[in-house]
């Protein structure tokens, strides 16, 4: 019996965020009429999709022991790039050149731009040994500045019906952003669970020195995760821009905090080496359900923030208590 107890407890720990989510849903279903309806469910998922994309990238980064504060700004810049390319194309007057973009073209360029920005984060962190917090904090400001420069501080709107479908359309009754998030999450789960790269990500976060001595190319892995983090922020930016049919220069402000919150609520350690993409997905859904429920309950926006913060604290405290019992 004593041999079974620890695994039993570990399982409870693994599912404790799922249990929390279920409890939350049951409470909301009892308290409100609207919560437990298909329309509201899809609505919640659609709202969660963007954060799920960003937070998935964040999870990979946090697992290596890093952090990325720039995702909100990268999201805004990449959203603006998509909108700008779609609407105005890319013209180089000196060469008398004009390139128009299809939806696919604009989207790909934006994702590449996001990956590039993430890559730059990775280079500052690996080649110049700048702590991730500082490097990505700088990128947060820089990317926001470029967004303002690129848009002149004005929204870029009316991007066409085709593009708007990315954010507002549905397929098989499920919103397109949810499909995108599902694809992103599946890919990340595959990488973390089934590939060498995934192992390396965990090993670097768990013990960087041991990983280096084992012949793991640490810098490459880090460049990869920051690149992916940037690319996924761009994906978020495309969805947001499409849904609003407009690239807002102020889009994505404080999204990095929601992403980090999802990662933490999902049980990933900010020290790296422990956690999972699945946990983050649950974390993102918890935040989404909470946002939705508080609106349905007519809680004032000011109180909503207080409650959200409280939930983050609670999640981490419960996690720590579990750790201590397993000591």
């Amino acid at each position: 019996m004593t041999a079974i107890a620890p695994t039993y407890r570990a399982n409870i720990k693994r599912f404790q965020s799922v249990i929390a989510l279920l409890v939350l849903c049951i409470v909301l279903a009892v308290l409100t009429d609207k919560f437990f309806t298909a329309a509201n469910g899809l609505n919640v998922l659609r709202q969660v999709a963007v954060n799920a994309c960003i937070a998935t990238g964040m999870t990979l980064i946090v697992l290596t022991g890093g952090i990325d504060l720039s995702v909100g700004s990268v999201l805004a810049l990449c959203g603006a790039i998509t909108a700008g390319l779609l609407k105005y194309g890319w013209s180089i007057p000196s060469a008398d050149l004009f390139i128009g973009f299809t939806i696919l073209g604009a989207v790909l360029v934006a994702i590449l731009a996001g990956a590039l920005l993430g890559f730059i984060n990775g280079i500052t962190i690996t080649a110049f040994k700048v702590p991730p917090f500082v490097a990505t904090l700088a990128m947060l400001t820089i990317a926001r500045g470029f967004t303002m420069l690129y848009t002149g501080g004005h929204p870029v709107s009316n991007l066409g019906e085709g593009f708007a479908r990315i954010g507002t359309g549905s397929w098989l009754g499920i919103p397109v952003p949810v499909w995108i998030a599902a694809a992103v999450v599946s890919l990340a789960v595959f990488i973390t669970k089934k590939t060498r790269l995934g192992r390396y990500i965990y090993a670097i976060g768990g013990n960087e020195t041991a990983a280096r001595l084992s012949g793991i190319r640490i810098n490459r892995v880090k460049l990869f995760v920051y690149g992916i983090g940037g690319a996924l922020a761009a994906v978020g930016g495309i969805i947001v821009t499409s849904r609003l049919d407009s690239a807002q220069p102020n889009a994505g402000i404080s999204y990095e905090l929601d992403a980090i919150a999802a990662v933490v609520i999902g049980g990933t350690s900010l020290n790296g080496g422990r956690g999972s993409v699945w946990g983050t997905v649950i974390g993102a859904v918890i935040i989404g359900v909470l946002n939705n429920g508080l609106v349905l309950l007519n809680v004032s926006p000011f109180w909503q923030q207080v409650v959200k913060g409280g939930v983050i604290l609670l999640a981490v405290i419960i996690d720590k208590i579990g750790d201590r019992r397993n000591e």
Binding site: A3, R9, T195, R199, T209, A210, A211, G215, G273
Partner: protein, 501 residues
């Protein structure tokens, strides 16, 4: 007098201590002896208030005590000096001694003058001639230990527990430590001394208490027991470590290093290593001995590509020159390094035994070049768990839950998986129990018989003499001797390891 009655303790269902009964004799040096995993550290953590959940009773001076935290234990007069020193590196000696119990003036301000004065007194009592304003980071390990002892003295501890105090200090510092221990004993304090080094225990300890598998086995006067009897009590069997020299110089050359030098990373014009050249033959075990700071570890690090900017010299494997600038290059050249500190450099402690073993060879465990094959990984891990005799509840258990010896075997396993030609071992048996030690020696000999070349750095002379086919001695970064095992004696090796001035 400190006494343990029927102390038991479980960790997540695993029994670490069962019904421990022992008495520490006041005013004596009480040695706690046992292999790793015997429960020594756990027991000490109970005495010092680190572990608060246990069964049984602790009786201090006739009174039942139960500490809720380390502070209560300290106030009751029990101080512990941990194996890993618990000092804040960028605070001064004074600040560390008074950390958490600062003296203040009537106004509630820090009374720096008084603290500094008291710190100076304490250091004086320990014959330590250092400015109390010195930062801990600037001190040698031995001196840092003295600061810990000063902390204990300030709290006026009647029981001072020392956990492996000599594992990282030089012989000279050991002598100083022993002088202090004798002084503390003459003041009537009870010393609890934990060490793997039996020789040391016979020098300093008055009493012995043997623990084995979490139980108290025997206790008595040190003077009334021999080293062999003690080992028998610890392991439950007799130990033989025969010396078997063999000549392998006519075997083909495997590794040749020429003129390895290493610049000091911070101090200009200072060399950590200068002009080291040697060869390693197929099937040879080369022992490298040097005193603390001689550059032993750095030499292995240079071979493994850990000092790309500051290292110079050439490395030939099988006669071919190899540029080794990173561990990746080193592994490609057929080298493997089992580092000195398995917890900091060898293992991802949170991860399973299985993933720790497979981490170096994941590329060979892939299907279609992408997906890790669980079957292949399980086979690999199971093979090494059984061939090296790694004792683990399951291959999925986290590496941190295993004892030191078994952790060391995991590190060995992950490197053997790469099928290296040259195995570099840095202090391969540090802090592990005698059984695991002899298993590792046996493994080294088997590997050498199969043709692997092994370089072992060790600070323990008996180990060097027992395992090596040839001994290299380095002193202050220079190679001072290469001695065939037939001619090697402790005196000869030491003579070459000590700087002639």
């Amino acid at each position: 007098m400190l006494e343990a009655k029927n102390i038991s303790k479980n960790f997540s269902g695993v029994r670490a201590l069962s019904n421990i009964n022992l008495q520490l004799v006041p005013g004596k040096v009480n040695a706690i002896i046992g292999e790793n995993g015997a429960g020594k550290s756990t027991l000490m953590k109970i005495f010092s208030g680190v572990h608060t959940q246990y069964e049984g009773e602790i009786i201090l001076n006739g009174q039942l005590v139960k500490f809720a935290n380390t502070r209560e234990a300290e106030e009751a007069g029990i101080a512990i000096i941990h194996q890993e020193l618990n000092l804040v590196p960028y605070l001064s000696i004074t600040e560390n001694i008074f950390l958490g119990r600062e003296l203040t003036t009537v106004l509630g301000m820090l009374d720096k003058k008084q603290m500094r004065g008291k710190a100076r007194d304490l250091l004086g009592r320990l014959n330590m001639d250092v400015d109390p304003d010195t930062k801990i980071a600037a001190l040698k390990v031995g001196q840092q230990q003295m600061v810990e002892i000063a902390r204990a003295l300030f709290s006026n501890a009647s029981v001072i527990i020392m956990d492996e105090p000599t594992s990282a200090i030089s012989d000279k510092e050991v002598e100083q430590l022993f002088t202090i221990i004798r002084q503390l004993r003459s003041e009537g304090r009870t010393i609890v001394y934990i060490s793997h080094k039996l020789k040391e225990l016979f020098t300093i300890a008055d009493r012995f208490i043997v623990l084995r598998d979490g139980a108290s086995i025997d206790a008595g006067d040190m003077a009334a027991i021999t080293q062999d009897e003690l080992i028998q009590k610890m392991t439950g069997r007799k130990l033989g470590m025969g010396k078997t020299g063999k000549t392998v110089l006519d075997a083909p050359e495997l590794l040749r290093v020429e003129n390895i030098s290493l610049r000091h990373p911070e101090l200009a014009k200072t060399m950590v290593l200068s002009g080291i050249s040697f060869t390693l033959h197929k099937g040879e075990i080369l022992g490298i001995y040097g005193l603390m700071g001689a550059g032993r570890t750095e030499l292995l690090e240079c071979l493994f590509g850990l000092h790309p900017k500051n290292a110079m010299g050439q490395i030939f494997v099988n006669g071919q020159v190899r540029k080794i600038k990173t561990p990746v290059d080193a592994i490609a050249a057929g080298l493997a390094l089992v580092p000195e500190d398995r917890k900091l450099q060898g293992l991802v402690l949170d991860q399973s035994v299985r993933s720790n073993i497979s981490i170096t060879t994941l590329q060979e465990l892939e299907r279609w070049g992408i997906v890790l094959s669980e079957t292949k990984e399980r086979l690999l891990a199971d093979q090494f768990i059984s061939s090296l005799g790694i004792k683990t509840p399951s291959p999925q258990s986290a590496a941190k839950n295993l004892s030191g010896g078994n952790q060391q075997k995991i590190v060995l396993a992950k490197w053997l998986a790469t099928q290296p030609q040259v195995l570099l071992l840095d202090e391969p048996t540090r802090g592990i129990d005698i059984n695991a030690k002899s298993e590792i020696y046996k493994l080294m000999k088997n590997l050498a018989t199969e043709g692997m070349g092994i370089i072992m750095v060790s600070s323990e002379l008996p180990e060097i003499l027992a395992v090596s086919d040839r001994v290299l001695v380095i002193c202050e970064g220079e190679l001072t001797a290469s001695i065939a095992i037939e001619d090697a004696t402790e005196q000869e090796i030491l003579k070459n390891a000590i700087h002639k001035n």
